[in-house]
């Protein structure tokens, strides 16, 4: 345990992190069930493959899909960042977080390209 605190003052970033994590959680809570309903419909045969594609193709779906993937990445990034901060206490921390940010951004861009390039 550290005995003496070197008070570095406030970073003024805590609120934003917290806010985005909550906001993305709300978006996920609203949109994720939609994905499961779609998959479930396919599973029980209420929707065939073309029906599913029709759904995904529509402009509104693509917008929602974009929102979902952005929220997913923001949420995962915030959550994992906090976990790394909790358990990694060396300079490696910054490297890991940066690496994660780059990888998740790439993944997001790839996914967005899929959403918007598809069938259009």
């Amino acid at each position: 345990m550290v005995k003496k605190t070197h008070d570095l003052g406030s970073a003024h970033s805590g609120f934003k992190d917290w806010y985005w994590q909550r906001l993305s959680a709300v978006v996920l809570a609203v949109l994720l069930p939609g994905v499961f309903i779609l998959l479930w419909s396919v599973y029980i045969g209420a929707l065939d493959q073309f029906g599913l594609l029709d759904w995904l193709d529509s402009f509104v779906s693509r917008l929602l899909h974009t929102l979902l993937i952005v929220a997913l990445i923001v949420h995962a990034y915030m959550g994992l960042k906090v976990m790394i901060e909790d358990y990694v206490h060396t300079g490696l921390r910054v490297v890991l977080i940066a690496l994660m940010l780059v990888m998740m951004s790439l993944f997001g861009m790839w996914w967005l390209a899929l959403i918007w390039a598809w069938g259009g």
């Binding site: 550290v2 005995k3 003496k4 003052g9 609120f15 992190d17 806010y19």
Partner: protein
């Protein structure tokens, strides 16, 4: 011959012992309603005078005898022997450096306390008489003014274990909230500014260990959430 109770106590004298160890004692159950502190006193006065621990008031108001009792943090003076599984295992508060036996180094803990300026800050000239509060304003402080800074909550908080150098911990945040809520205090803005930090405040992950540990039945998690809500209201 009275009934005997079994107890094992963490012993460590950094100047003599290479390693901490647990020492077993047998103590007669002297009276009804015996508290753990009575047992420690018995050992110190009759069995082993070198046993070291802090205590003062003996009735749960000074906050000096916080310790880990059968794995749970609490105050020895108000913890009844009845209901404790034997052998009772007594250890110092977790995650603080041991000075000797059950006495831990609280320097950092109180340093963090000092950081939040736990006193009334007002720009008004000092009034001739007391600063008045309505009964409602006074009632806002219920649930935080009772805190005795025993450290039972903070030393049970995993976030403080991992990041206690920066995370203020539940006790200090409960106190910070106490001043944020005080109608007479005029430094609310600065207090909020100071805490708006991913480590100082937001490192709390709502694990609620603190609430379970508090021997005064207080709820630091609720205080932390109140600070977060106040920050939210300020921004939106």
């Amino acid at each position: 011959m009275s009934k005997m109770l079994q107890i094992e106590i963490y012993r460590y004298d950094p100047e003599k012992d290479a390693e901490p160890y647990m020492q077993a004692f047998e103590v007669p159950l002297e009276k009804m309603g015996m508290k753990l502190l009575d047992v420690l006193n018995y050992i110190k006065w009759h069995l082993d005078g070198t046993l070291t621990y802090r205590r003062s008031c003996g009735e749960g108001v000074c906050g000096s005898d916080g310790m880990n009792i059968n794995g749970v943090n609490g105050l020895a003076c108000i913890t009844a022997i009845e209901g404790l599984k034997q052998p009772i295992k007594v250890r110092p508060l977790p995650s603080m450096e041991v000075i000797r036996d059950l006495v831990v180094d609280t320097t950092h803990f109180f340093d963090q306390y000092r950081q939040i300026k736990p006193w009334l800050q007002s720009k008004q000239p000092t009034p001739e008489h007391e600063r008045l509060q309505t009964p409602d304003e006074r009632a806002e402080l219920d649930g935080s003014y009772e805190c005795i800074m025993c450290g039972c909550c903070t030393t049970s908080c995993p976030s403080w274990w991992w990041n206690g150098d920066r995370f203020m911990g539940p006790a200090v945040l409960l106190q910070a909230d106490r001043w944020i809520k005080d109608s007479r205090d005029e430094a609310t803005g600065e207090r909020l500014d100071q805490l708006e930090d991913a480590f100082k405040l937001y490192r709390c992950h709502q694990i609620m260990n603190c609430m379970e540990a508090c021997p005064k039945g207080l709820n630091p998690t609720a205080a932390i959430n109140h600070i977060k809500r106040t920050l939210l209201n300020r921004k939106s």
